[in-house]
Amino acid sequence: MLLQFIINGIIVGSIYSLVSLGFAIVYNTTRIFHIAYAVLYMFCPYMILTFFSNLGIPIFIAFIIAILITVVLSLLMEIIIYRPLAKKNSSLNIIMISSIGIMIIVINTIALFYGNETKILNPDISETFSFGDIIITYIQLAQFVISTIILLIFLAFLKFSKFGIRTRAMRDDDILCSVFGMDIYKMRIILFTLSAIFAAIGGGLVAYDVGMDPYVGMPMLLNAVVALIIGGIGRFEAPIIGGFIIGILQSLSVWAISARWQDAVTFTLLILFLLFRPQGLLGEKKRAV
């Protein structure tokens, strides 16, 4: 029984890792606390709903179209809101508040067109298979395999491609990047695209399993941020480790206490980290100034 919960935790953790990494890609490089990221996670399932359930396009193609539309939404946020604010040297707080604004607008628009109630993408009960005592549904397997593959591919690119060194340079000092001739706004297009893809895939995979309503984004964002802080802000491997820790811990709290305690356990862990290891697991202590 315990093993079943740990496996469930790893599967949920892989989704947390993916979504948290998408948030970290933007946060670590641009320092934007991209709250509107939450709606990207929620937006993709609604697009799948439109193309798959309403228009009858096969699920795989509908998923890809939905991801592309989510990317467009993410780029619109960057081009219409964040970029002009950054060019005006607006403070990060102002950018964050505008991000909350975007989130509210998109949530209300989705609620207007699709309604507030929970929607289901897959009305059938998903098939399962079992290893001994452990039972896994096929959609859970898909969640784990797809997220893990994407995480591994991203880490490989970060390590071996020139994109990786650019991203790390931008994380350290974006002004310096432009002094050396890098068009940071072009780079931001790539970063916002990647982050939207990660949110969309995470959102789509979860919604196919449990359905969605217009408000699913925010709790997921909070988990993603906690994963990022626990892992260590600034490192791209960090949200992945943080995501798995939270996933397993939440699953164990369901096993040991009750499902209602999941969030309490997550945020207790956050507070413990902020008090005793604020730099996170992988972060390095900052030198005192």
Binding site: S161, I165, S178, F180, M182, R287
Partner: protein, 277 residues
Amino acid sequence: MNSDTILIIDSIRKSFVRNIVNIRGKDEDEKFYVLEDIDLILPAGKITALIGGNGTGKTTLFNIISGFFKADEGKIEFKPNGSLIELTNLSAYKRAQLGIGRMFQDNHIFQNMTVLENMLVADENFFGERPFQSIIYYRKNNNVEKERIEKAEKIFIDLFGEDNPFLNMKNEKAKNLSYGQQRLLGLARLLMGNYKLLLLDEPTSGVNPVIIEKIKAIINYFVENKNMTVFLIEHNMKFVLDVADFCHFMSKGIIAVSGTPEDIIGNPDVRKTYLGI
């Protein structure tokens, strides 16, 4: 205009808005000009110093030249190789690609990257080349990258000799270097690019006398061996006397006095308002 001119700054004005309490005790935004009217011509292949009190707008002028601020009025023209290029509407990264290098007053380095990576990203065109394809570009196993590493190591040897801390620490994170070493790395890095004009903002602030001597040697190396032009802001007058060919004294938003460093130091206005002697 002389044929060996590299930068022409023509009637630059720049204002900021500041909040004041007016005569009736109310808050009020007031526009004031940091740069009233700056005209300046930089001769190519020389070292020109810019001096002046704190808050007179020296760094603002550097920010306008390198594209981080937009001037209210006036224009800047750059002449890297014979033809004049108007810079006024170009963004910072394009100016960098044209050949304007910049070093900041506080050490801007890529803290979490290695010493060697700090050099590599400064290479000419590193950031400029193929921005979108960079995602599928395997970086370690190609000749361009190998040449870059050799170039970086040669720069370290040329500047600091065979046995130097930068070569020994090339695979360590740059934040482990001391403040003075970070400053030297910032200067050495400028040799990776194909820069024609370097803007150095107070290169000697906060470092010890031995490093100041090294900085002096590096700046002379830029001009003599690499044919670069150097424009620097400096408060250390001894340093200015030692390295600079020309000097401009900025006061109240204009270039008040220009000449050789010796002329400037001898000027009674400068002695009274800036040097305090």
